[in-house]
């Protein structure tokens, strides 16, 4: 195993080198460019920084935002309004910048509150980001002589520094923010962002506060865009409503798409290239140029979803083969087991369900379910298809699901909590169909599962991930500990199930909800999982709720069985009692094919 310290610092070293090269280019460039190009580039470099934030939001995190221009415009207007109406000088400039950042942050937080909540659809969030610049533009138009309405504000006092100085400011800003962005997306936190993009629901059920992360990200992206807008206005001495408008917002998206989303540098260079080029070409053929950008955009989205950057990097790698794997080797260590044992052996049962019911319109899926799950108990839930088993799981893990009744986890009522909060109370849930994060490696998935407990480095990667004993056991049993750097999409089905279970256990639950954990597994794999589950209840005091069709498997490991039928508990007892019951036989009469192992 190579020394991991070197690999980690390699990311930082690459960032440092890239940053220094960038700064050198910025320092030298104005001496070689003519006035015209310098002028054009100063504005373009600032816009490129905004495009970079769009790529982080959309390319990496999956938030399709049309509204990043709104924050750019807020920064610009903060500058224009303060310098026009209130005063000018270093103190005023700092005050205006503070206002720019503050207002952008507040508006972004409000937008995040509107757009991101558990259950909001990505399309809805996109429309909110589209509405933001439209509403803001209207506000500016209605501002009369204060905002300058459609004419904008112009000719306010500003720093008429030499063009070189402005170029250095704009270029330095771009290089530094991009370096920070580059480190962010390559950090452990960056993996969390990708996880949200790939499978938002699953992230929530690992206890990752998806909505909060999105909102916070939006706030910081807004502040970067606002700072860029501030500099833009201070340099160009003009603010106008179009700086806020959604036309600019969509242009930012188009540049990101053309440059290659989730490549960070691709969009930045695309922004610089296309914006500069359009200064030349749009004059010659204004409509045709717009038509061509439109066609190019559609073609790229349909045929080259990753944009032009991957083509270039592929070419690069042909001449300059990759010397080393991108993936960091990760060591697994053992997390202190104390948390896992919390409360599970005490007097209060970890899970208490009272009068739970769930209706969809007039359809009753669950009615008046009462159930207590004790520590060290493995509770099998059986019942024919449509009996409400999966709905039961959903109600336990998401406070918004149930229509009536109460659920206590470790003696805390879950109320209307979102899944990530319920995970925090001690519920771990695995899904019926393995839902994982395709492009992440096994180690990254495990780190993700530890996000709630251990957090994630913002600008760095750690080379260890601490897991509780049971998760380690699973990894060993399935051989995953040898495949930590593999991308999960390349794993076998059995390994995927094992990884999912390990991830759920890594969140250190005291109540574990398993929805058919052995479906599609081979017999030896089943036995291995069964042993782990038994050990989990015995040694670590977990309460496991298990949905299973395979009665043999249930018989082998359960302490107690609950039979659900048509949304109600039909009977409860030991496996033997249940199997012997005529009632259950009658219910299962039509469902024999599913019981076959």
């Amino acid at each position: 195993m190579p020394d991991t310290n070197i690999t980690v610092s390699r990311t930082h070293r690459a960032a440092l080198i890239g940053c220094l090269i960038g700064l050198c280019v910025v320092a030298v460039a104005p001496f070689t460019l003519d006035i015209y190009l310098t002028n054009i580039l100063i504005r373009t470099l600032l816009l490129a920084a905004v495009v970079m934030t769009v790529d982080i939001l959309w390319g990496y995190t999956g938030i399709l935002t049309f509204g990043q221009s709104a924050f750019f415009g807020i920064g610009a207007y903060a500058c224009g309004l303060v310098f026009t109406h209130y005063g000018f000088g270093p103190g005023w400039a700092f005050a205006a910048l503070a206002i720019a950042l503050g207002v952008a942050a507040i508006v972004a937080a409000a937008t995040g509150w509107l757009a991101f909540f558990h259950g909001s659809s990505p399309i809805y969030a996109s429309i909110i980001t589209l509405a933001l610049p439209i509403v803001l533009t209207q506000v500016i138009y209605s501002g009369g002589s204060f905002t300058g309405s459609s004419s904008g504000l112009s000719g306010f006092p500003t720093y008429f520094w030499d063009l070189k100085v402005w170029f250095w400011i704009a270029g330095g800003f771009l290089v530094l923010t991009t370096t920070a962005g580059w480190l962010l997306v390559r950090s452990d936190f960056g993996r969390v962002l990708i996880a949200i993009r790939e499978n938002e629901d699953r992230s929530a059920y690992l206890g990752i506060p998806v909505s909060r992360i999105k909102t916070i990200l939006m706030v910081f992206a807004a502040m970067v865009a606002s700072a860029a807008g501030f500099a833009y206005a201070a340099f160009s001495n003009v603010v106008a409503p179009e700086l806020v408008g959604f036309q600019l917002g969509t242009e930012l998206l188009i540049w990101t798409a053309l440059g290659g989303r989730a490549t960070l540098l691709g969009p930045v260079f695309a922004a610089i290239g296309i914006d500069t080029m359009s200064s030349w070409l749009s004059g010659a053929m204004p409509f045709l140029w717009k038509l061509l950008t439109g066609v190019g955009f559609v073609v790229v989205i349909v045929a080259l979803p990753r944009g032009l950057a991957p083509l270039l990097t592929a070419l690069w790698h042909r001449f300059w083969p990759k010397s080393n794997s991108m993936f960091t080797e990760v060591k697994i260590t053992q997390a202190p087991a104390s948390r896992m044992l919390r409360a599970s052996f005490g007097d209060t049962p970890p899970l208490r369900i009272e009068h739970l019911s769930r209706r969809y319109g007039s359809l009753k899926v669950l009615s008046d379910v009462n159930l207590v799950g004790h520590g060290t108990e493995l509770l099998g839930v059986i019942g024919p298809n449509g009996a409400g088993k999966t709905t039961l799981m959903r109600c336990i893990s998401d406070g918004k699901e149930r229509t009536d009744g109460s659920i206590h986890i470790n003696n805390v009522e879950i109320g209307r909590c979102s899944p990530q909060r319920v995970v925090g109370l001690g519920v771990g849930r695995s899904f019926q169909n393995t839902s994982l994060f395709d492009t992440l490696t096994v180690a990254e998935c495990l780190k993700l599962a530890r996000y709630r407990l251990d957090g994630a480095k913002l600008f760095d990667r750690v080379d260890t991930v601490a897991l509780p004993q049971p998760a380690l056991d699973i990894l060993k049993a399935t051989g995953l500990d040898q495949k930590l750097s593999n991308e999960t999409r390349n794993l076998s089905h059995g390994m995927k199930r094992g990884l999912e279970l390990a991830m759920v256990l890594a969140t250190e639950p005291s109540v574990l909800l398993l929805d058919e954990p052995t479906a599609g597994l081979t017999r030896p794999e089943r036995m291995a999982i069964g042993e782990v589950l038994t050990r989990l209840t015995r040694d670590f005091g977990l309460c496991i709720i298990l949905i299973e069709h395979d009665l043999d498997f249930v018989r082998a490991i359960s302490n107690r069985v609950v039979v659900l039928h048509q949304g109600a508990i039909l009977m409860e007892g030991t496996v033997e009692e249940v199997v012997a019951s005529d009632l259950v036989k009658a219910v299962y009469a039509g469902h024999h094919e599913e019981e076959v192992a």
């Binding site: 209605s142 179009e242 004059g283 409509f287």
Partner: protein, 385 residues
């Protein structure tokens, strides 16, 4: 690479050869909205500029130098205008700029003009009070436009109660604010003033307000294009027949609207039916040069045509293209063009002869009255002489 060098060499050779027997041309920059909101009117403005330059050059140019146009698209907005002005001022290094633009584009260009010290003539009517030592304006401002229509309504139709409708942007609000003041100063009242967002075209609610306010006359100042024509159509569909003055309609639009436009009053410094020899000559020249492609001259293209003459006259008077001298001369020279004799000596603005027109049934505009040399009023007191 070699080929490109070779081509460059040829290009340089040719241009050097040309300058051997004629001094370098005087470059005039034309930033104009080839795309965006102004793109409808832009072709006529470009034609007017080309015509003026051709006429001047055919008479031997200015100070023995020919004029040359540099046209740049400003996208009808601030961002595009900055690019256009950067390109004209710093790349093409023009000697002067003649600009028919939106207010946002003009505002965006002014800092660059100030930095580059280039004389600018702004040729679009606007809401007034834009002042820069480097800018002159030869088109109308509210002070010149409002009075003819309001006076006509008050005297001819005995109108006391006015209703004002506009698009919510600087020009719309600026014009109607002035109108309100003027109406009230003449003893009338404004019974309603309503705005729709700039691209809004559903005037239903405002028309309902209008009907319940029951005014004697209506004056509108919307953004051009769709909002303006939809307002007119919806007014007609709602059966509104009171005297109707429209600040945004031009002859071309009136013609395309057909009978819906009948009876609309407009006030303008140029109407193509002005009966003067200069105007006739101008219309013939447009026809001759562009033939079937000729765009109808209008309130925006004619000031552009005259402004190029004004710049040429100022250079002639100053004896060079030195910007400071040209700026001084611009306030003194008089151009005798299709709109009559015009001097930009009123605080960088110009007194204009205004025409009150009325759209007839076939969509043409008949001149009802004219008002000689209407003063632009106090636009930029700092430039008072």
């Amino acid at each position: 690479m070699n080929l490109i060098n070779l081509l460059f060499g040829i290009g340089v050779g040719v241009s050097l050869g040309a300058s051997a027997y004629a001094a370098d041309p005087i470059k005039i920059g034309i930033p104009v909205g080839l795309s965006g909101a102004n793109s409808v009117v832009a072709p006529s403005v470009v034609q007017a500029s080309e015509l003026a330059v051709e006429e001047i050059n055919s008479k031997g140019g200015v100070l023995g130098r020919s004029l040359q146009l540099e046209i740049a698209d400003d996208g009808s907005g601030a961002q595009g205008a900055q690019r256009a002005y950067d390109s004209l001022v710093f790349q093409k290094e023009v000697d002067g700029i003649v600009a028919m633009e939106t207010t946002a584009a003009r505002n965006a260009g002014l800092p660059i003009v100030n930095r580059g010290r280039v004389p600018l003539i702004y040729t679009s009517f606007y809401e007034g009070r834009s002042c820069s030592p480097w800018m002159y304006i030869n088109a109308w401002v509210p002070e010149q436009q409002v009075a003819p229509i309001v006076d006509q309504f008050m005297s001819e139709y005995d109108a006391k109660k006015f209703f004002l409708i506009g698009s919510d942007y600087a020009f719309g609000r600026g014009m109607l604010n002035f109108t309100r003041e003027y109406v009230e100063s003449k003893g009338g009242t404004v019974v309603g003033e309503s705005y729709l967002p700039i691209d809004g075209s559903d005037w239903t609610a405002i028309i309902s307000q209008l009907r319940s306010a029951n005014p004697d006359a209506l004056i509108t100042s919307t953004s051009g294009g769709a909002p303006n024509v939809t307002l007119t159509r919806q007014l007609r569909a709602a059966g509104v027949t009171i005297p109707y003055g429209n600040y945004a309609v031009d002859e071309g639009t009136a013609k395309s609207m057909g009978e819906d436009a009948e009876g609309i009053y407009i006030a303008a410094s140029y109407i193509s039916s002005i009966d003067t020899p200069e105007n006739k000559k101008f219309l013939e020249a447009v026809e001759k040069k562009f033939g079937d492609d000729a765009k109808t001259p209008n309130e925006l293209s004619v000031p552009q045509y005259e402004a190029i003459y004004a710049y040429a006259a100022a250079v002639e008077k100053a004896g060079s293209t030195n910007p400071v001298d040209v700026i001084d001369a611009l306030g003194e020279v008089t151009v005798d063009g299709p709109r009559g004799a015009i001097t930009m000596d009123k605080q960088h603005h110009a007194a204009l002869t205004m025409y009150l027109g009325r759209v007839t049934g076939d969509g043409s505009v008949e001149v009802v009255r004219s008002f000689e040399n209407v003063d632009p009023g106090e636009q930029c007191p700092q430039f008072a002489n």
